[in-house]
Amino acid sequence: TFPGTPKWSKTHLTYRIVNYTPDLPREAVDAAIEKALGVWKEVTPLTFSRMDEGEADIMISFAVGEHGDFYPFDGPGAILAHAYPPGSGIHGDVHFDDDEKWTEKAAGTNLFFVAAHELGHALGLMHSANPEALMYPVYRSFKDLASFRLSQDDVDGIQFLYGSPTTPKNNYVAPTEPVPPRSKTPAKCDPALSFDAVSTLRGEILFFKDRYFWRRSHWSAEPGLHLISSFWPSLPSNLDAAYEVSSKDTVFVFKGNKFWAVRGNEVQAGYPRNIHTLGFPSTIRKIDAAISDKEQKKTYFFVEDKYWRFDEKTQSMERGFPRPIEDDFPGVEPKVDAVLEAFGFLYFFSGSSQYEFDPNAKRVTHIFKTNSWLLC
């Protein structure tokens, strides 16, 4: 934070776009600023509304050279923008150097990225020394705009000032404009907790939920909660499925009709790929859960009430599939969120329940709460 830790004393802030750059259509500027505010809105109780005239908390403008604050811009390159910490008058304001070539794309100087950074200052964050952080002072070009996520460092910083998003607001729906549900930090001991996906990774177990995952390792009794983006910045949140092929030291993660391969903390080149390259028919839009049998080198994909089997050796879907889940995994709920193999059992996660399935006896041996793995 800035010296003295200045922050807004209210959670609803106003902003005004005072003028526009000629580099972009007005709508593109509006969208970039709105998206940049959304980055911070998602992880705090803060809300924003736009003003078209008068003095807003955050006044956003484009300027060149000396522009009235004794911190002149310097032409193309070098300084891209600056912003002031929370407070009255010029404080909280954001200035962009209009000698830059502002773009909506990864090439050039992307307005959204710079705006998200500067708005971090306007909310009270100073520069971070963490090169992964949005608040790192040096501009980096991002290859994949869609995959942008705040780092844990940014989230920790802003939540130090304003706290986490509050539950009542998440459920609040304005009479005229619906507010999309936001991703709050999941509570591991919430009795209703469900997982998006579960996978092993080099002997650890990862439990994915929204933008986060719990990491249960041999080295720590307490599962640690991390942002997916802090390990794999280009991966999406709200995953559908994940599984490890330990012989390839690779975890495959699925969302929608795409999947990615990650090795350690590196997303492999050539991904994402389309799930239909695995042999699924075009009617399959997403995978619910997946697990790889390392002995037989087969991967099981669960989709609605059926499952498919993929041969890792021939890299092809096996004939005779899909089959109904209930035929071969009797007692398991047909809609599977995630599946994990441990201690010779398969653990099927479905909502807040977890079914321990003995593959030899072909029956469910226990039913637990989903979060039993998180020591709840």
Partner: protein, 84 residues
């Protein structure tokens, strides 16, 4: 053949880093010439501070990776201290 070419480039780089340290690392302007003439350690210390903050190898010297970082586009808000 420019006899003083290297020296001129060195001076220009030194000016660049001094401006950078003044703008972003709270290096005091009025004593800059004293630093340059008599004692370079305050500036070396500021270079170290900057290298540490930006995740560079901490040498206290104006090496190529430090110069490259200084030339990258960035936010105008200081890394250390405040707008003055």
């Amino acid at each position: 053949y420019p006899v003083n070419g290297d020296r001129e480039e060195e001076d220009s780089n030194m000016d660049l880093v001094q401006r950078y340290l003044e703008n972003y690392y709270n290096l005091t302007k009025k004593v800059e010439n004293i630093y340059r003439r008599r004692d370079s350690s305050p500036i070396d210390n500021k270079i170290r501070e900057m290298q540490k903050f930006l995740g560079l190898e901490v040498t206290g010297k104006l090496d190529s990776s430090t110069l490259e970082m200084i030339r990258k586009p960035r936010c105008g808000v200081p890394d250390v201290g405040h707008f003055t």
